[in-house]
Amino acid sequence: MELNSLTIEAARAAVQRREVTALELAEAHFARIKQEDGQIGAFLTLSKERALEQADRMDRMAAEGKTLPPLGGVPVGIKDVMSTRGLRTTAGSKILENYVPPYDCTAVARMEAAGAVVLGKMNCDEFAMGSSNENSAYRPVRNPRDLGRVPGGSSGGSAAAVAADMAVATLGSDTGGSIRQPASFCGVVGLMPTYGRVSRYGLIAFASSLDHIGPLTKTVTDAAIVLRTIAGRDPMDSTSAEVPVPDYVAELEKPFRGMRLGVAKEYFGEGLNDEVRQAVEAAIDKLKSLGCEIVPVSLPHTPYAIPTYYLIATAEASANLARFDGVRYGHRARGVQTLSEMYRRSRAEGFGAEVKRRIMLGTYALSAGYYDAYYLKAQKVRTLLTRDFDEAFRKVDAIVTPTSPTAAFRLGEKSNDPMAMYLADVYTVTADLAGIPGISVPCGVTREKLPIGLQILGKHFDEAAILRVAYAYEQA
């Protein structure tokens, strides 16, 4: 058995049947990490002891003939923006270099309660701010499909680890596309659930009204399994929704024929790479041939999504990151005389360039005299962007688009131009602003063998529909 290419279902079944032990499975993944990760840089911290303890627990359950939970013995990775009790959590930032959380993120706790074996914490852009994973304070992540290219951001480590078979599945977070875009660049499946579907408790906040936790996996079925595990109301997060969680895995088998899929012309205009366009159009043709109806829809405010996103995300970030003051946790500057000097210098030393840029933009947009012109304006345009989706979803069950306008770009290619970098999220940010779910599935490769992603967007709390479309496409 090739231990590093198993899906969640196959890995759990193998442990259950005792064809392999969870311990062997974890060891095989640690060996793979040792062999590959020096070049790729997907992991920031390994949690070998924690992993082996859990694996042993699962092995004992299997030996006793007990039925394993849905992720029993499955090796996973957690983006380093999710708190893990007793395990270093940095958010990719120097300011949290030595931070050891006193509690677990709900999504992580639910993964472990379902038997998952946590291998370690995944590299990411600092505070999840970036589209290329070059903003990690520790080191960039490289794309396993081409080491000269970025894996996408900010869940680049989470995507790269799955693509390189260093983990069966990982958790990422998506604020402007940070699960779907790296999934697209690395050729894996990435699912962003509806806002409120998964608790954000224990997620180190970037922009609280936009942050989503979701899985990166090898298959659509695996994404459904992880979502089923982490979804559902959590009293610790007042924005987590009290909405019943369907059995997403069973939902995959429901009929796909007759579904209405929207195609918006605004996602196929200027800036879209030709090879990406061809692959996505071919994917849409394939979906049509599988029996769904293709319906043209319009999302007219799409060109305003990026500026809206950057105002709202940075405004919320500037407020969220105010807690990093060097008092209760995190880096504190040495040799300071006064309290305000301590704040200013600790933050100056602890935050990287992109984080400072966003704090500055957000603070500016919220400051007296500019609040109405920028922040309030952006909130109003957010309403318009959301109405576009409401209108479209009156006609269709899901919308299909490219995930990213290009395949993975080269390291350094956009790192000196924030505007160029921000545009890498042009097809993903709107879903975050509207709070609707989205998934990216691989739909071919470029001539240079770089993966291309197909994005499927759905109605609030209708992850089942987008999973079904993604599954039908994947199986065909």
Binding site: Q337, L339, V381
Partner: protein, 112 residues
């Protein structure tokens, strides 16, 4: 609108961020390039559009909770059942860069 050197210094002060002279220059350049792009939003007439701060305001599952953040927080189960238990003091202090057995230690607060 165009940000100036003075704006950058003022905003850095508000954000409690010490910037070097070089960083201030870069920040001014980046801020203005982003703000120029953001001005695109002024093409839209939004005078009759309500602002949207939270997704859950719109699809609120419980209609009575819609629109008011305060109301949502007030109905948090953990608060209804009484305040959540605090972390043990030792755990709360464990990540502090400077603490004694009881308190976080900071420079003199009285002087700014």
């Amino acid at each position: 609108m165009k940000a100036t050197d003075k704006d950058v210094a003022y905003v850095a002060e508000l954000a409690n961020l010490e910037l070097t002279a070089e960083e201030r220059g870069g920040m001014l350049r980046d801020l203005n390039s982003i703000l120029a792009y953001v001005d695109l939003l002024n093409e839209l007439d939004t005078s009759d559009v309500p602002p949207m701060a939270q997704v859950s305001d719109r699809y609120g599952v419980d209609e009575s909770r819609q629109g008011s953040e305060r109301f949502v927080y007030a109905s948090r189960e953990d608060i209804l059942e009484g305040l959540r238990k605090s972390l043990p003091q030792a755990e709360a202090l464990a990540n502090a860069p400077d603490a004694d057995e009881e308190f976080f230690r900071v420079p003199k607060v009285i002087e700014r």
